[in-house]
């Protein structure tokens, strides 16, 4: 009995280690190829352990490309603003929805839920944001469309507020003379760090990885974010491979595509901050997620 249990444990461990390796290996390959010399990469292909380690791709990113530094700045800026704004708005919508006394609670909750299932589609959204709000080629285009509020996060938070904050605390605060606003930010928010951290991390990831808004709302390269820049390089590559229409004309574009190790280095500097930040959130992460999930 005991030994079969141990065998089982070992088996599980091996499966899990194998699975972890499958997840880690592509990242390692990305990392190692960013450290391989360009020409080496073209000549011998990707390798898990480069023959000669070369930092030339990073040197190049550091030295010559103000475009990339700028894009990095834009990514950080939109992530910070977007997460702060998104998180506070989400909490402010979710909290009232969690209170039973709220009038039209279910109607409003349905309204939020509805946005999870349906949206206006690409062209109408584009027309709305460019013709009526004039977001084209502004920083707002990277923050507001499609990202700022998310029905799923609101419902996640509402469930947390409704189930983890005892009504008794709110009522006692009310008796002590606190108004709704004070109850919200002095009592409810401090008790909700798990869900705030979870949703906050979601927002960070969403904003950090977003390239789509940049693709459709920006033509001015000064607002390109890092992911947008990377995505454009990929699109350019695809274009080159799919289109023989433009003919000899695209030779110039083909000559400008950055070399593979450069692309890998850009991906690495895009990934690293999230990798670093993740462990700090992890403590809250599982907690916040399960609370929302079980009762959701």
């Amino acid at each position: 009995m005991q030994s079969s249990g141990r065998v089982y444990q070992w088996l599980l461990n091996i499966v899990m280690i194998g699975f972890t390796l499958f997840c880690l290996m592509p990242i390692w390959l990305l990392f190692s190829s960013s450290l391989t010399d360009d020409m080496e990469l073209v000549r011998n292909g990707y390798a898990f352990f480069p023959k000669d380690i070369s930092f030339s791709a990073y040197h190049y990113l550091w030295n010559t490309s103000s475009e990339i530094a700028r894009a990095y700045g834009i990514t950080v800026l939109t992530t910070v603003i977007g997460t702060a704004a998104g998180l506070s708005l989400t909490a402010m919508v979710a909290y009232p929805l969690s209170r039973i006394e709220m009038p039209f609670r279910n109607t409003l909750a349905f309204y939020v839920f509805f946005t999870m299932l349906f949206n206006g589609g690409l062209v109408p959204s584009y027309l709305l944001y460019t013709n009526y709000f004039d977001f084209k080629n502004t920083l707002l285009a990277l923050i507001i469309p499609g990202l700022l509020m998310n029905g799923f996060f609101i419902i996640l938070m509402r469930t947390f507020f409704a189930t983890s904050i005892p009504t008794a605390i709110i009522e006692s605060a009310y008796i002590d003379g606190a108004r709704e606003w004070k109850i919200f930010y002095r009592i409810v928010l401090p008790l909700s760090t798990p869900v705030l951290a979870t949703v906050g991390l979601f927002y960070v990831i969403l904003y950090w990885n977003d390239w789509f808004n940049g693709l459709i709302y920006l033509t001015d390269s000064k607002y390109y974010s890092l992911q947008n820049l990377l995505n454009r390089i990929l699109l350019d590559l695809q274009f080159l491979q799919s289109s023989t229409q433009a003919g000899s004309q695209t030779g110039d574009l083909a000559a400008r595509i950055p070399l593979a190790s450069m692309r890998m280095a850009m991906a690495v500097i895009g990934v690293v901050p999230l990798l670093v930040a993740y462990p700090f959130f992890q403590k809250y992460f599982a907690k916040g997620l399960t609370v929302g999930a079980v009762k959701g």
Binding site: R43, T107, L215, R232, L234, L235, L237, Q238, A246, D252
Partner: protein, 522 residues
């Protein structure tokens, strides 16, 4: 409790009714507002035009927007666009805002821009979507404008061959004008000159693909690290097939020999195609093609730059040698061994159109006209500002100024073939000083495909095209890089194409082609 519930329900119902009501009445308001907005702006436009008349100018000031694809926005774009505006302000009293869009993002962003009311006056058209865009009504008919404001465009193109402007007609109307560049293509191979010299390769003996084996053999035996030939575009012969067929834009239903009395055939069943596949397969088996050719995403230029590749087979034009040498940063030598052919795709790949959303189509045409006639303006678009982005070596030949090169130049779009009339631009140092004359002769003397001017409208067979494209994606690259054996795979490929409906596409194309031939007396 029950009572409260029902009150809630009643409230909810009334509120939603109110919301719906508000929505619909808002919609109405918006419409009428839109109408008002329109008349208001018309009114103010009329006023400004009056003001313009008062102020000695005959044209009212206008702001135009010009949209085109580019590899990226150059650092000194603003400066160059200021200089361009100085010229346009003086000549046609208009300023122009240049909006470059990345090649990869082009399809998506352009579609969105054209879908709304965004101002776009001049836009690059073609790139394989010309007939769809015209069918969607995105471009204005240019015939009348070309007669008046665009006389210079018409003259410049008709001087080459009236066929070229004719080739842009859809149902007898012109919706776009091709830029003056290489409007035909010949075919051949570009090789590294250092290796050609080192092994004394006799380039004059190359007359067909089959003559290349001997050369590749030498490279393979003596330079084990160098792949004798690599992909250009999608595959080894992706583009070379056009030397044997007019692919009529999509390669589904083609004209062998650019004539065949306008009888279409399925390219993938044609013996010429099979023969090319056999050649490539032979190369692959002999190791002249990289084993990972079918899946590699490295561009041919990076491969040559890295010293890993010796050659690529492509379409060509006069001056290709220097262009490819610049792109690969190595000295290259190009052998043209298949004669020049001009097909509709060669002409309609890069054109300019006036967009439906244009605020002033006649002024947009005037701007376009300048791009075909005004040497100063063209050179600004093509090369930037004299003294800063280029200096004159001699009267008509230019080079980078001291200390400036391709990597640090603030304006190095290299889109001379895009901005109107390339033959009026300067010649870059290293190219033949006579390049534009050669290019124009090349255009004039190229064999014209019998179907030159026929533009296929694929609307009726859209779903078949989608299905067929899936099949070609599966087989084409593997076959055309020699990775799989054509003896066994080509019949499978053909069968699946038939199952996906290629015959229906060819029949539809043939029908349109016959109608076109009848209308144009071919």
């Amino acid at each position: 409790m029950m009572k409260r519930r029902s009150i809630h329900l009643a409230l909810a119902l009334t509120m939603s009714a109110a919301v719906i009501g508000a929505c619909s009445s808002n919609g109405g308001n918006n419409d009428s507002n839109g109408g008002n907005g329109g008349t208001a702006s018309n009114g103010s436009a009329a006023e400004t035009s009056n003001a313009g008349n008062d102020a000695s100018k005959t044209l009212k000031p206008e702001k135009l927007v010009m949209v085109f694809p580019a590899a990226g926005e150059p650092k000194d774009m603003q400066e160059v666009s200021d200089a361009i505006n100085k010229i346009t302000k003086e000549k046609i009293n208009a300023t122009v805002k240049l909006v470059p869009i990345g090649w990869g993002a082009w399809t998506q962003q352009r579609t969105l821009m054209m879908s709304g009311k965004e101002q776009v006056d001049l836009i690059l058209s073609g790139l394989g979507t010309y007939s769809q865009d015209v069918a969607k009504g995105q471009f204005l008919e240019l015939d009348d404008y070309l007669g008046k404001e665009g006389a210079g465009i018409k003259e410049a193109l008709d001087n080459l061959d009236p066929e070229f402007l004719n080739a842009t007609k859809i149902d007898g109307k012109i919706y776009a004008v091709p830029s003056i560049r290489d409007l035909a293509a010949d075919f051949g191979i570009t090789m590294r000159k250092d290796l050609v010299d080192k092994y004394n390769i006799d380039t004059s003996s190359i007359k067909s693909l089959d003559d290349l084996d001997a050369i590749f053999k030498v490279i393979k035996e003596n330079e084990p690290d160098v792949v004798p030939t690599v992909k250009y575009g999608n595959s080894i012969i992706d583009i070379y097939v056009r030397s044997a067929f007019d692919t009529l834009s999509d390669g589904l239903g083609v004209l062998p020999g650019n004539d065949n009395n306008l009888k279409l055939v399925d390219m993938y069943e044609a013996p010429e195609y099979k023969e090319m596949l056999n050649t490539v397969r032979r190369w692959y088996l002999a190791g002249y093609v990289a084993k990972d050719a079918a899946t590699s995403t490295e561009t041919q230029y990076n491969m040559v730059k890295a010293g890993k590749a010796f050659s690529f087979i492509s379409h060509m034009k006069p001056g290709i040698e220097t262009q490819e040498s610049r792109n690969t940063a190595r000295e290259m030598i190009s052998i043209h061994f298949k004669p020049a052919i001009s097909t509709t795709s060669d002409i309609t790949s890069i054109m300019w159109s006036v967009a439906r959303n244009s605020v002033d189509p006649s002024r947009a045409t005037m701007l376009l006209n300048l791009m075909y006639t005004d040497k100063d303006l063209i050179n600004l678009f093509d090369y930037g500002i004299e003294g800063k982005h280029y200096t004159k070596v001699s009267d008509n030949v230019i080079d980078f100024p001291q200390g400036v090169d391709a990597t640090n130049s603030g304006y190095n779009l290299q889109l001379g073939w895009m901005f109107g009339n390339q033959s009026l631009s300067y010649i870059w140092n290293g190219d033949s000083p006579d390049l534009w004359n050669q290019l124009m002769d090349f255009n004039k003397n190229a064999t014209k495909s019998k179907a030159l001017g026929f533009i296929f409208n694929a609307d009726a067979v859209k779903s078949e095209i989608a299905a067929v494209t899936n099949v070609t994606n599966q087989y084409k690259v593997a076959l055309e890089t020699g990775t799989v054996d054509p003896e066994t795979q080509l019949p499978k490929f053909i069968d699946q194409l038939k199952a996906a409906g290629i015959d229906k596409i060819i029949a539809e194309k043939q029908k349109q082609l016959d109608a076109w031939a009848a209308a144009n007396g071919k």
